[in-house]
Symmetry: D2
Subunit: 393 residues, 4 copies
């Protein structure tokens, strides 16, 4: 385990949680104190301030990179060089160039590499993706993925030089990959339009951003990210399809509601803003946020010799989309997603053959209370529209 | 009452509903049959196929225009000429040119004119706007207004020649004016970026659209409209501010949930798709959709000699924003909102003076469980960020 | 209008609200100051401290009794004597004896009398009752009606000598009549089991109560009332039927949610406990709480010479059920509902003829994913149960 | 693993799920076919139709009893005799006599015994219990636990001779133990009032039941169980305290909502009734239903030599409460909970010392918008109540 921040805690809580068979053997931290504290907190045999030592430790099979963004490339490269499996937290790189180099490093070294994109592994998301793949909502036309909260807990997140940007690089990477999972990973992201602004915090990078990603099929991935949201952490996905709709709420409205006049104490949930009044706790965060299923997929994939659901190539695509978003925010126009290589094949345009009725195109068919059908018809010749009520069935 | 479609029914149901003192005196329809049926349905003394006769009827005080979009200008102009008060349904015109001519017609004639934008008058919206104006959520940074359903009930809605467009002209007008009410009507809409597509229905106009409106303060109005949504009518508004958040759900989740195995019958709510399984009815639609409060404001404003909340100028601004959206969908870039005249004054940029701490800018202040405060600080000279834990209070 | 408390305000706000044609002509208060303040607040021509004067005022057509419970009988008797229409707030009496005398007074005088049970008139409840009557959920088996909050605002509510009891007499009357509307008013309430306790407030009467009412059909009406609930006003109804389910939430989760960090101001909703954090406002309380539809029914019924939905006889039945509840709380057993006269006819026991399959009773039929049906069968002779999978359709 | 029904599947899915280190070594089924199918389904080395062989298998460390109720005692006794650890599914016995004998068997044998009450281990419930224990809602006054669905999937559940009853024995055991966890396990259950009825299914046992359990502190545990609910599985808990409120929804409203026009396929959630329209799936059922945390607690307790959260004594208490409920349903009065031994100590009555103000008891204190406080005061001498507005703070 490289890194002892909040994400290192979440990862270790997951690995050591329930009846898990996996254990952190050695933890690396730049700070001896933080490393020792982490070691004690989680019952880990060793801590070190020497990253290479942690990586090359004979009992280290898999290296988990839970470091700030600017250290990902160095760490991943070192692990690849050591010929060990590597799992890297999100975002893969600060930009697509870094991500591509990391991708090439692991592929050249032939090591197993997993992209730790937890929000694509939440139990709700996994089940929803499976429903979509099973045809439950038809062709996906639109995915809205929203992640907003009042801002990160650690100083380095706020420094764009270390992270690669602001709210987009922190939160947008989740939303983009969620969209890709719903529209289909073979559905090429073509172009992006993005608006960013810095409205509240005295920083240079964006604290708010909204973007649309146009995929080859015509589907739109929409992300909304913010470091200025008030009320906790708003983590919602909405998916529209030609045959249905999915709404997922991961945090503030999950069927667990508590009012307290105050007086008690304790942790409510990540990024909760208040400890009295109406609160919306989350049951088991490491499960609800996808960490459990994510590590299960990673370790099983490693053992079974297959790719995990989220690969370094996926991380690279996400970085490429974020790069396009940043370019668009400056150019004020749609910007193409530049990919050095597209591995996803081709996805046809969403389409359907319109129903015909007596030489007219059926625009809509509604069932009336008396069982008859109301048709809205278009005359292909004149372009005129008419209503027609016909027998049902 | 000019027009006997669904909206004419909703308006008359409202006017004749509860213990209202207002009554429809004469109804105009292009079709004698539909006029007679409407007259019978609502107990109206007279129907006519002569619009001028309806307008000039000696007992007509106020004319309600509930006609298809392409007939608004003709009707409004005739009422202005007759020197009577006129209330016109949304959208005001098919484009800003029409809307401007209608605005000028009523202003030149000096008659009372109200823009029937019901969704700005829903009880929830009115109360939320009042909360926002009272400072409950600080400066508004973002408004998302979403109106989506499976498509309109009447043929003329689908004919862009008659309406001026597709889902934007039908539904976007609501969303835009809702955004304006939340960000403040004095907050000038500067520019618009918009994406449209026709994904499902065999029509030439857009059946899906998403747009961002940038207001002078930096606030963003985001609208999402669709004629391809599955599951009923999704009518939601979300407002983010520097000091709070508002979520409003008008239709599918209003605290009224019903499961039926089938067997019963009856109307659930406008645009409901199913009559078995889990249903989400609306209690009193004419109240929940704002019709009651809208007509109260209109008639009271007329009597008190003041402007209503929604004026023809507002309708004109909405049309101008929709025009910019359509231009943007073609040009693929931000397009300015062209207004022949801005009546709203100037709104300063959202801003705050950052808190300082020992020469550093305070980026964020969090209260720890032990009462101490964690500060994230920025050194203005180096641009470096650090964490600091200090005593609370 | 007799009475100038919170309920007098709500009633007058309703009558004078929107475009209503009804007006309060004269208001009676025991206190000259409160009467004058009320008169000013609502633009009422006259106030008086002489109840008889208010009742006999030549321009008074209808008298609304909005007084504390112990004054209902005196007021209603006086109005009946004056031969005028009377509308009396809930509960009708402090007990069934008072209620019966009031019922007999108005019936002997032959005057119109309405029982102002607003929560049976909320738009959601009206629509749900209509759905139930239309068969949407089959036979009603159970109604849970819950009204709980932190306790009333005025001193007299807490004095059981004036009111007739505690939380049951204050809130249970609503819940009971809601249950009766859902199970059918012709469905005789047979017996009641009730548990009461005084857990928080230093009073002699109950601040918490739960009861079951058994109706002739076998349906159960369950009420839960409390003056010790924390978090606002919890006003929910749940209805289970053989063919469906209804869930209604009137207050805390109605599709209107607001987070505020504080700083703004203003009224949220009746009995709201907090003004910061997550709040759940109600759009238009006088509509959502049923006042608008209630007065519409009352005045229309008076004009049309028919009974309103809620009559004095209904008020009497509610009092009789509450009397049985109080007796049960003491005796710790089911107590019969004593009615001097039952006007509702007879309701058959909920029942269905079981489906048979090859000489066995079908207990349950489930559709398997492959389209076949799984039957759970009972052998009528041996009483044994078996599973059987058969072809579907 | 003894038993191959739905619960055996859920248990094995949990044990073999994620990165768990525990494995089922041998499965017992009365049917050779079902045993073989189960073995294949879960990759278990052996299956057998000889219960003793499975128990005494040299590699069996822990025996999980997942058999129909009437076989629990026989199985548990056999495991105790074999001196192995035993985990028994709910309910422990068909009645308190059976449960007591099972309790005595394991205690005499000195073996580890765990009561598999999964719903007390759901992540939401665990976190809520911890909040309650931390004082977040003050003293618990009331717990409502509701579990209702359209009826069980297997034939034996419907045969009261095998199970010990109907919906109470199937579902009430969950609700009772949830209530005990919230009011505190040291809080003695004193007496029970219960109403049962058979309204829909052609069976002799109850398909609906409602009961109140009075605990020593005055707190009420309320359970509602039904085999006739329509709409899926309704699994909700509500907890009221003197200082707060908790609402938990485990199944139908968990932040995962899907509308499908049909066409796709697949499993939605246990007891879901429909596969089109609005559906409410559950993300990861074995986690959400508590199986994961339950087995973690059981195996960790075994290893650490401590009692698990849910013991056989708890199972015995639950049976004793259900026995009292069945007696009450017959006697129509409160029935005492008979326990051969109470291990929980004593819990004081919920109480608070009332605040005094100038010789009066303060009944309620409200903060007015202007900052002053409104007091409702009781004169201890006269018993009169008055309002008083005083300066705030």
């Amino acid at each position: 385990m490289l890194g002892t921040g909040l994400i290192g805690d979440f990862y270790t809580m997951t690995l050591h949680g329930q009846r898990g068979r996996d254990r952190v053997r050695v933890v690396y931290s730049r700070s001896e104190d933080r490393g020792a504290a982490f070691r004690g907190r989680w019952g880990i045999p060793e801590s070190t301030t020497d990253m290479a030592a942690a990586i090359n430790h004979p009992e280290t099979d898999v290296v988990v990179v839970a470091l700030p963004n600017h250290l990902h490339e160095e760490a991943v490269t070192a692990v690849a060089r050591a010929g060990k499996a590597v799992l890297c937290t999100k975002p893969l790189g600060r930009n697509a160039h870094e991500a591509r180099r990391m991708l090439e490093a692991v592929e050249k070294a032939g090591v197993f590499a997993g992209y730790l994109e937890d929000l694509c592994y939440t139990p709700k998301t996994l089940k929803a993706i499976k429903s979509v793949q099973g045809g439950a909502i038809g062709d996906v036309t639109w995915v809205r993925s929203r992640e907003t909260h009042p801002g990160p807990h650690s100083a380095w997140f706020w420094d764009g030089r270390l992270t690669g940007g602001g709210a987009i690089i922190d939160l947008g990477c989740h939303c983009i990959e969620i969209s890709r999972n719903f529209v289909g990973k073979g559905n090429r992201p073509v172009e992006v339009i993005c608006h960013t602004d810095t409205l509240v915090h005295p920083i240079a990078d964006e604290d708010n951003a909204i973007a649309l990603i146009r995929f080859e099929s015509g589907a739109i991935g929409q992300f909304e990210v913010s470091w200025t949201f008030r009320g906790g952490m708003d983590l919602r996905d909405e998916v529209a399809g030609t045959g249905g709709t999915i709404w997922i709420n991961h945090f503030l409205r999950t069927g667990f509601e508590m009012f307290t006049a105050g007086g008690g104490s304790g942790y409510v949930a990540e990024k909760a803003e208040t400890t009295a009044g109406w609160l919306f706790p989350v049951g088991d965060e490491v499960s609800e946020l996808g960490y459990v299923d994510m590590f299960t997929d990673m370790f099983n994939a490693l053992k079974e010799g297959r790719q995990p659901q989220e690969t370094f190539y996926d991380g690279y695509v996400v970085n490429a989309i974020m790069d396009a978003a940043y370019r668009s925010a400056k150019s004020d126009r749609w910007e193409p997603v530049d990919l050095f290589e597209w591995r996803g094949g081709s996805t046809p345009r969403i389409s359907s053959t319109p129903e015909m009725y007596e030489g007219h195109v059926v625009i809509k068919r509604e069932i009336l209370p008396d069982g008859r059908h109301k048709l809205i018809l278009k005359d292909p010749a004149s372009g005129d529209f008419v209503d027609r009520v016909v027998a049902g069935g």
